[in-house]
């Protein structure tokens, strides 16, 4: 009843090719963005901003990146954590070397450096496929983290081996560092997330995205119809690593404040992969839903026993949490292998005919 495209006629090609051709989708997305910018930061508690929304948005950016690589170009990667680390450490090096440089530019440059590393580790993807490639990307994961641990240059020779986000100012507000308010950091992360999501959405529905999808579905056939594999696969690696790199930089500068390489270990790579698969491979919306699901589930699992007044020993609770999390993944994969994005589109179909389904 409310969600019908009936009567929405397109009179020119531009309208027909708009990102959201259905008016309701347009309103919905606009409303969500408006609420995220205007209402959320003023009513949300500091805990909600700091521990839930900011990391969730950051991981959404990383999930967008991995979704471009795995969901659209069909290249399975388990090195996400390392590419995020590359972004984080580059951002730290750049901003300590050029303190005057605008922090946005620092983030973008760190994304570029992550992209270069991504291209390097993407070169084997032309010959190596499937799980062989996935395991090969572990090489990036282990090698890069080892490098950040061993080469003191990356941490400016600090004996503790940690990198700390220095305070940086923009438009008269502290953007990073200990004095930045959660609201400012939320705005920064949100802006990155929204802009990157729009860029990704446009990339994947254009020529580049279609080439990626052709490669994903069958790379030999794609090659035969004239799609050049190497540049396209490397481009997918580059853009994906760019997203991951920016996400990694934001993770340190806007969320953790300071960190060692442990913040980017293999568990992070897997978490982002979960987000992409649970959310839906090859779906921009899915990256948002997946990131929310994977980030919120452990938080909910940790807090539920307290809320219902159940007192369990911490280690037992930790084990039960892992068990439930694992079972949830299995159950999810069995019942909806196409992910949350698919559930969403089924819901939209139902809503179209509601309340008189036939």
């Amino acid at each position: 009843m409310f969600y019908r495209e009936t009567g929405q006629f397109k009179t020119n090609y531009n309208a027909d090719q708009a990102i959201f051709p259905i008016a309701q989708d347009r309103w919905f997305v606009t409303a969500v963005i408006l609420i995220a910018y205007s209402i959320v930061p003023f009513y949300a508690t500091e805990y909600l901003l700091q521990a839930v929304l900011i990391p969730m948005l950051i991981f959404t950016i990383a999930a967008l990146g991995l979704n471009i690589l795995t969901g659209y170009a069909g290249l399975l990667s388990l090195g996400t954590g390392a590419f995020m680390a590359m972004g984080a450490y580059s951002a730290y090096k750049i901003t300590t070397a050029f303190p005057e440089l605008n922090i946005i530019i620092v983030f973008l440059l760190s994304g570029v450096s992550a992209a270069l590393v991504g291209i390097m580790f993407g070169i084997p993807s032309l010959r190596i496929k499937g799980f062989y490639l996935a395991v090969a990307t572990f090489a990036a994961q282990f090698f890069l983290l080892w490098m950040f641990n061993k080469v003191a240059w990356w941490v400016n020779y600090s004996p503790s081996g940690t990198i700390t986000a220095p305070p940086r100012e923009m438009f008269g507000h502290m953007m990073t560092g200990p004095t930045a308010t959660p609201e400012t950091r939320y705005f920064l992360v949100l802006t990155f997330c929204v802009v990157f999501a729009f860029i990704a959405k446009n990339l994947v529905r254009g020529r580049i995205g279609r080439q990626w999808m052709a490669i994903r579905d069958m790379d030999i056939a794609a090659e035969i119809i004239g799609i050049r594999l190497l540049p396209n696969k490397l481009l997918a690696f580059a853009i994906s690593s760019f997203y991951c790199g920016v996400a990694g930089a934001l993770l340190i500068f806007s969320y953790l404040g300071s960190a060692e390489t442990e913040a980017f270990d293999i568990a992070v790579s897997f978490d982002v992969l979960f987000m992409v698969i649970i959310g839906g491979l090859g779906s921009i919306l899915g990256s948002f839903l997946g990131a929310a699901f994977i980030w919120l589930t452990p938080i909910i699992l940790t807090n539920v026993p307290h809320l219902v007044g159940l007192e369990i020993a911490t280690d037992v609770q930790k084990h039960i949490e892992i068990m439930i999390f694992g079972s949830l993944i299995v159950i999810f994969v069995i019942f909806e292998p196409a992910g949350l994005a698919r559930l969403w589109s089924i819901g939209k179909e139902k809503l179209r005919r509601w309340p008189f389904p036939y």
Binding site: I128, K129, V151, F274, H319, I334
Partner: protein, 311 residues
């Protein structure tokens, strides 16, 4: 210049000067390699028979070892505890087939892969919930004495472990080659549909491979557990087995063995002779780099089946 000297000349000099020590390094690498192969074998068995990349193999090793130690702590004699643990692993195979695999027939590989990651999480929590998360010693009565073989110091435990690993591989090879079940397994690995159409029960096959993989995991768990204690980090040897796996080829049992030996030796030699020049602890990534270089030339691994693609 100094760095160049450190990575080109010095290691070679080191090898040439003390070849007995080099022999020791190579042999200890070979023995570790057999241990890696044991873990990689579990992956290969399941991948061969069902096309599932079983990420939970590492956790299965930990789970089997935890169960064994837990049973021994109850005062059950070792041989009985071994049998009981085998029973647990077979039961686990039934449960996995019934609850997970059966529902995922015909799904894309990555979905099956995901489900095994979920399984890995579950088993990790489950094992530690029941048996506790602290480090446990596992003593199965294999002597650990140093022996002098031709001037080289070798550990008797490593040799016995390697022998057990080798005999396990031999048994598996015979099982695959000469038993009706083994033939059926190979048929399923070749072509699911064709195997089904000549009446091979897919479900029985899956339960069998997961059981065999579980028992292999138990052997690996016993060996690694006796060597370094049963603890969570035991499951991380899966990350050691992965490069072995892709180096040897995901579908090849001999590949898992040869791959294990290459990785074992390569990583030991690199760590001892090249490690100091670049700051050490290169064991973590060296195996992956080595595997990647090999894959450049043979994308399906050394012994993997050639991937033939048609449009």
């Amino acid at each position: 210049m100094e760095f160049l000297h450190a990575i080109t000349v010095e290691p070679i000099m080191g090898i040439a000067e003390d070849y007995i020590f080099f022999g020791e390094v190579v042999i200890s690498g070979l023995l570790t390699g057999v241990m890696y192969s044991l873990v990689a074998l579990g992956f290969v068995l399941i991948f061969k028979a069902s096309g599932v990349f079983n990420f939970a193999q590492g956790i299965m090793v930990l789970f089997a070892a935890l169960t064994l130690v837990g049973l021994i702590d109850f005062g059950i004699p070792i041989w009985l505890a071994m049998l009981l643990t085998m029973g647990v692993m077979v039961a686990l195979a039934f449960v996995i087939e019934y609850l997970i695999l059966r529902h995922l027939v015909n799904q894309p590989d990555i979905i099956l892969f995901m489900s095994t990651i979920g399984l890995a999480f579950f088993l990790e929590g489950f094992g530690e919930l029941i048996w506790g998360a602290n480090v446990k010693a596992l003593n199965i009565g294999i002597p650990e004495i140093s022996m002098d073989v031709g001037g080289m110091l070798l550990n008797s435990f490593d040799i016995i472990a390697a022998a057990i690993g080798a005999s396990l591989v031999a048994v598996l090879a015979i099982f695959f080659q000469f038993t009706p079940m083994g033939r059926a397994l190979r048929a399923v690995a070749d072509d699911h549909q064709a195997a089904l159409s000549i009446g091979i029960p897919l479900k029985t096959i899956w339960v069998t491979v997961w059981s065999v993989a579980g028992i292999v995991a138990l052997v690996a768990g016993v060996m690694w557990g006796a060597k370094s204690g049963v603890q969570f980090s035991l499951s991380l040897i899966a990350f050691k087995a992965l490069p072995v796996l892709i180096l040897g080829g995901l579908t090849s049992v001999p590949g898992a063995i040869i791959g294990g030996l290459i990785i074992g030796v390569g990583e030991k030699v690199a760590e001892v002779y090249w490690g100091p020049a670049v700051g050490g602890a290169i064991e973590n990534w060296f195996a992956y780099m080595l595997a990647m270089v090999f894959l450049f030339f043979r994308p399906q691994g050394l012994f993997g089946e050639r991937i033939i693609e048609r449009v």
